[in-house]
């Protein structure tokens, strides 16, 4: 079985400040981890993924995520937040055998001026 936890329903950050959106996971085999973003009335947009190798993954729009195997975490980060980053962020996981993605409950990011 695979599962994802996003412990924060909402994260508030001022524009220009660094942001972190937290994600922890549980899988029985090797984890394959994904971050998606959803803007209002839109589908999910792929940001980045961790497959293997370097623990720091860089993605779209200046986002990056750090894979930490010992803490089973895959937190999303950005050095300097923009108001346009305000959206709903989903972490997802799958293992080597599952076809489906298992999603977290989502974290709403609110960036203010």
């Amino acid at each position: 079985a695979q599962s994802v936890a996003q412990p924060e329903d909402q994260v508030n950050v001022a524009e220009g400040n660094p942001l972190t959106v937290k994600c922890t996971y549980s899988v029985s085999g090797n984890p394959y981890l994904f971050w998606y973003v959803q803007y209002p009335n839109r589908g999910l947009q792929f940001l980045l993924k961790y497959i293997t190798g370097d623990n720091l993954v860089k993605g779209s729009y200046g986002f990056e995520a750090e894979f930490n195997k010992s803490q089973t975490s895959f937190h999303l980060k950005k050095p300097s937040a923009l108001v346009s980053d305000s959206a709903l962020y989903f972490c997802a996981v799958r293992d080597g055998t599952a076809s489906k993605l298992t999603f977290g409950t989502g974290t709403r990011l609110q960036v203010t001026l």
């Binding site: 994904f34 839109r42 589908g43 792929f46 293992d95 080597g96 076809s99 999603f103 989502g106």
Partner: protein, 115 residues
């Protein structure tokens, strides 16, 4: 290039009626997925197609739900005798293959409202 497209974008129906939702995956993608996004349940997997293999229907919530994929491309999700709890956004995704590292690309979704 063209992404995943879904139609209709919005569907309002009365309880007990049947509805069909359509998904057109990215050209060349062999794997196609349906998910449902609702307030109470978050994002749930419904069904998965890979090429000519038998679909993985493990996520379908009841036998009122069915899906088919014709010619390895377009897919239709059918909900029979709709209930109010079926109200949700239905998302379709496709990926190049079924590999666990392949990225799933999502369409804009169909918002279903059952009155």
């Amino acid at each position: 290039g063209a992404g995943v497209s879904q139609s209709p974008s919005n569907k309002v129906t009365e309880k007990g009626k049947d509805v069909e939702l359509r998904c057109d995956p990215i050209s060349g993608h062999t794997a196609l997925y349906w998910y449902r996004q609702s307030l109470g349940q978050g994002l749930e997997f419904l069904i998965y197609f890979q090429g000519n293999s038998a679909p993985d229907k493990s996520g379908l919530p009841s036998d009122r739900f069915s899906a088919e994929r014709t010619g390895g491309s377009v897919s239709t999700l059918t909900i029979q005798r709709t209930q109010q709890e079926d109200s949700a956004v239905y998302l379709c995704a496709s990926s190049l293959s079924r590999g666990p590292t392949d990225t799933q690309y999502f369409g804009p979704g169909t918002r279903l409202t059952v009155l």
